[in-house]
């Protein structure tokens, strides 16, 4: 019974729908016929009614008229009939659209200004959103990447998390874990590609067997490493395979020469894999070789990543891994790990880029809000101008809802065109943003790997954003316009709504301006910072010797001796030097320094192997003692030069020159179990003190540094510094040729001027400054336009009054003041709110600032004055124009 009932209901609904759909379609597509039938029916009704009345004694004319009066407006009846079907909604929308387009076309000036304003707001937001999308929203190119984690050993009593783990510890973790489906380890490894016409340096990674299985990547050709592989196998990235081997399908099994040794190619990766051994510090790995095992548990060389087994929570895995680490610590006292921490691979790769992306999205949202309030203000002025139109429409029977819908349709059209222009703007600007992104940042890496562009996510976002902005800018003006008209007495006051809007604009743009101001000040401070040497006319480059060819310390030292000798003989080269770690490159080797005979640690210092001429080439001043010399050879006693910070820190009251300290030297021995590494203590005499340089970065204050001759501290990889008499960049090809004259197989990489390094130091902050500065400028201009608009509207409203006042002898200043005054309180409120907002929000910038506090009073004060000046000027222009009003014209104005 019940079943039958439901069947009937369903049938009814279905029939009802189909019939209604058919009838609606008929009304839409056979419109003329349907309309004619309706006319006929109504005429018939009138005829019948009239005939009926004639029967009761009226004359034909009287009867006809009476029948018409009874029916009322035929058009209204027809409209009622039409509105029954669903198709009428469609028709109304279509009508609204057409009418809206007409209105917009008629007010070209208004439309252009409003659409462009919206385009700036929407375009900016879309641009930043696509950045955010590339950095944050796109998943890693690995299946079930939510199960991938980086593992960090925690060391010491304070359980400090460190990037790398010991290889041997890693092997034990790998064997014992049950919560991880698999664990793998990797380390950065750049290799010289040899045996080709021009030697080349390849970025790569050393990986353990099962590394790609852990990531969930299968090679497109061949296979990945197995535990039974020798050390001489290699996997190519897709790019390297294409670039270097022309995509040769038979590449598997062919040899490749790295560091002068032959490797066999066993696999090629798919093109979607962009693996970096360090998410922001290294380029994408092009070549993969096996990790060389190191038995020492205190030698931390590999980064560990793992894939959780399905259904295992992060907490369960953490508990298990901590248990494993604790057992290992008991069994092997030399193991340094005391705990373990996880970070999802996605988070690790994104790192601080997400903070930057959100910060920029917040900033651009301000611009969007300002552009919306500007358009809202424009619409309010328009609404006042269209009061007559609205009154007429209401009089002929349009309901409030109908007018509201019409106005909102117009606004939607406006937002739509603004959004379209905005997306076009974003399309043009997005590649620019990609280009100015600071290198060596996770943002840059993510943008590079994600291939920044407009995609469907971004386009859907743009459409939604246009809709949202319509609500933001159109709701209030439309509501106001359809309210029963108030008597439009010119009260001379700016309405609370318009005043509130300009206060909002002033406040928001003030916040952005303060942000930009703080960033600018940071960069100025940063670049003012003395680096401790002369950066101009300095050329730097990296030379990394292959182990096979330069196997001993003597051979390495001999190569660098010869190289430096030849380079300093070049006529353009004033002096040449070499160091293991260039300043400003954010890398150095820290080690301990001890007082001899006591085993008592003084502290740590950065260890640097340098050439004798390094200080001269760099322009680092010698403060005391002597520089390193040619006499300090491999066979003579160990000597070193310290920097000023080290002298002050460790010998605050004495002269360190002539003192002896204990330093540790790294020794690697090949054993059957792998490479055994250890540090052996040596005595070293301090022979001189040099000035401080910014070793780690422009924004890092100097720390203790120790410089030692490379003859005594052999180094396989060194950076050269050449002081050039002229502009350094054009000398590059000749320097390269000179280097290849010593060894034609030796690649030279990272050839840069020192000024470029300095630039790079400021790049991250400059990126933020450029974007926030751009947003702040747009915001300031929009706010100025908004203030100007409200002020001129106020002036137009009071033209008559101004005329009267001037006729009665008011002075110009009084008129100017009259107009200025109407905005003034709102501007003051806006500035106050903006200052408060900036106080609260600039903390978010704190990590990007350098030696400037987020609440830096002088920046706040200066920006406040700038904003006041902009706002003042924007209101002064209309006020000044008011004084040009001819009293006679003004009086006739109404």
């Amino acid at each position: 019974m019940l079943g039958l009932f439901f069947a009937l209901v369903v049938k009814e609904i279905a029939m009802f729908r189909i019939r209604s759909v058919v009838a609606g379609l008929r009304a839409l597509f056979r419109k003329r016929q349907v309309e004619r039938e309706m006319d006929e029916e109504l005429r018939d009704y009138l005829d019948a009614a009239a005939k009926d009345k004639m029967r009761s004694g009226m004359s034909r004319e009287e009867a006809t008229r009476a029948a018409r009066v009874e029916m009322g407006s035929v058009d209204a009846v027809k409209e009622e009939i039409r509105s029954v079907g669903w198709e009428s909604t469609l028709e109304t929308i279509w009508q609204d659209l057409r009418f809206g387009l007409r209105v917009l076309r008629r007010n070209r000036g208004f439309t252009a200004v409003a659409a462009l304003t919206l385009a700036l707001g929407i375009g900016g937001t879309v641009g930043v959103f696509s950045l955010l999308d590339a950095v944050l929203l796109r998943p890693l190119p690995y299946p079930h990447s939510e199960r991938l984690f980086r593992l960090f050993p925690l060391e010491g009593k304070r359980k400090r998390g460190v990037e790398q783990a010991s290889y041997t510890d890693f092997r034990d973790w790998q064997r014992q874990t049950r919560t991880f489906e698999s664990l793998a380890a990797y380390q950065g490894e750049s290799l010289n590609l040899t045996g080709t016409a021009e030697p080349q340096r390849l970025e790569g990674s050393a990986i353990t067997p099962g590394f790609f299985a852990t990531l969930g990547v299968a090679p497109v050709l061949g296979r990945e490493f197995r535990s039974e592989d020798t050390e001489s196998v290699a996997i190519l990235s897709y790019t390297l395979w294409q670039r270097r081997f022309g995509g040769d399908a038979g590449i598997i099994g062919k040899p490749i020469h790295l560091e002068g040794r032959g490797y066999t190619i066993v696999g090629v990766l798919p093109s979607r894999v962009h693996f970096r051994s360090h998410p922001w510090a290294t380029p994408v790995s092009d070549i993969f070789v096996p990790v060389v095992p190191t038995p020492a548990r205190n030698w931390h060389s590999v980064r560990v990543l793992g894939r959780l087994a399905p259904g295992v929570s992060k907490e369960q895995a953490l508990a298990e891994m901590n248990g494993i680490v604790a057992r290992l610590a008991q069994a092997y006292p030399e193991s340094e790990a005391r705990g373990i921490a996880f970070e999802s691979l996605a988070q690790y790769v994104v790192s601080d880029a997400s903070q930057t992306a959100w910060l920029l999205l917040g900033a651009v949202a301000f611009v969007l809000l300002i552009s919306c309030s500007n358009v809202a203000n424009l619409l309010l002025s328009q609404g006042a101008a269209r009061e007559r139109e609205m009154a007429i429409r209401t009089a002929v029977g349009a309901s409030r809802g109908r007018i509201l819908r019409q106005l909102l349709t117009e606004s939607l059209l406006l937002a739509g065109s603004g959004g379209a222009i905005g997306v076009a703007l974003a399309y043009w600007a997005i590649p620019l943003v990609g280009r100015i992104a600071p290198p060596f940042s996770s943002l840059f890496s993510r943008l590079q790997d994600a291939n920044l562009h407009l995609n469907w996510t971004v386009l859907v976002f743009s459409a939604l954003l246009s809709g949202l902005s319509t609500i933001l800018f159109a709701a209030l003006p439309a509501w106001k316009a359809t309210r029963p008209a108030q008597s439009s007495l010119a009260t001379g006051r700016v309405s609370r709504l318009r005043g509130g809007l300009i206060a909002l604009e002033v406040a928001l743009s003030l916040v952005l301006l303060v942000g930009a101001g703080l960033m600018l000040k940071s960069i100025v401070r940063l670049l003012e910072e003395g680096v401790g040497f002369r950066t101009e006319h300095l050329l730097t480059m990296d030379v990394s010797l292959s182990e096979a060819k330069y196997s001993t310390a003597d051979k390495q030292a001999a190569y660098f001796d010869e190289l430096l000798r030849r380079l300093s003989l070049m006529p353009e080269v004033v002096s040449a030097g070499a160091t293991v770690d260039l300043p400003l490159t954010r890398s150095e080797t820290l080690n301990t320094v001890e007082i001899p005979g006591t085993h008592q640690m003084m502290g740590t210092a950065g260890y640097h192997a340098v050439s004798a001429g390094y200080f001269r080439a760099m322009g680092i001043p010698l403060l005391n003692g002597r520089e390193l010399g040619i006499a300090d050879s491999a066979s003579s006693p160990l000597v070193g030069v310290i920097n000023r910070s080290m002298a002050i820190k460790y010998w605050p009251t004495e002269n360190p020159v002539g003192k002896t300290i204990v330093v540790y030297r790294y020794v690697a021995e090949e054993t059957s179990a792998g490479t055994r590494v250890q540090f052996k203590p040596h005595l070293l005499e301090i022979v001189g003190i040099v000035g401080d340089v910014r070793q780690l970065g422009l924004d890092v204050p100097p720390d203790p540094e120790l410089f030692m001759p490379y003859d005594q501290w052999p180094a396989q990889e060194m950076s050269l510094v050449l002081r050039i008499a002229a502009e350094p960049s054009w000398l590059i090809p000749r320097v390269e040729k000179e280097i290849w004259r010593v060894d034609p197989d030796q690649p030279v990489t990272d050839i840069k001027t020192m000024d470029e390094w300095v630039e790079r130091e400021a790049a991250g902050r400059r990126f933020i400054l450029l974007l926030i500065g751009a947003f702040a400028s747009i915001a300031a201009v929009l706010a100025a336009v908004g203030i100007y608009g409200v002020a001129s509207y106020g002036m137009r409203q009071r033209t008559h009054e101004i005329g009267v006042r001037m006729a009665l002898g008011a002075r110009r200043q009084q008129i100017v003041w009259l107009i200025l005054r109407q905005n003034l309180s709102w501007l003051v409120i806006g500035i106050a709110a903006g200052l408060a907002g900036a106080m609260a929000l600039t903390r978010l910038l704190a990590s990007y600032l350098y030696s400037v506090r987020p609440t830096d009073p002088s920046t706040f004060a200066l920006i406040m004055l700038v904003q006041l000046a902009i706002a003042g000027l924007a209101s002064f222009i209309p006020a000044h124009r008011a004084t040009k009003v001819d009293p006679m014209v003004a009086l006739r104005y109404e």
Partner: protein, 113 residues
């Protein structure tokens, strides 16, 4: 003669009832409602015609064009089976409601107690 507003939501039912006897055109329906109610209900075309279209769309009545004496054609409406069912259901529902309302209105008021 004083006419009143139709009871809300009853127009559809009244039209169906009027058409239960024979097909009628628009004015005929309006006239019959007025006559049978003895002039209490006068339906204006502004609500009558939308109701026709609504009922037609719902399949309760169907139109039929018939020639008139002065060589034109008039749109007559005719009850469908669906419309007949609907009329029956609505009549029963109306009777139920009317009885309930009448009972409520006849109940003694507080002042009567």
């Amino acid at each position: 003669m004083k006419s009143s507003e139709l009871v809300q939501g009853t127009l559809d039912m009244l039209i169906l009832k009027t058409l239960a006897l024979e097909p009628l055109h628009g004015y005929g329906i309006a006239l019959r409602i007025e006559q049978i109610s003895k002039g209490v209900f006068r339906v204006n075309p502004g609500s009558l015609f939308p109701a026709f279209r609504r009922l037609e769309r719902a399949g309760r009545i169907k139109p039929e064009w018939r020639p008139t004496e002065n060589n034109r054609r008039a749109k007559f409406y005719q009850l469908t089976n669906l419309g007949r069912k609907q009329l029956k259901a609505e009549t029963e529902e109306w009777a139920r409601q009317l009885a309930a309302i009448t009972r409520i209105m006849r109940a003694p008021a507080i002042s009567d107690l």
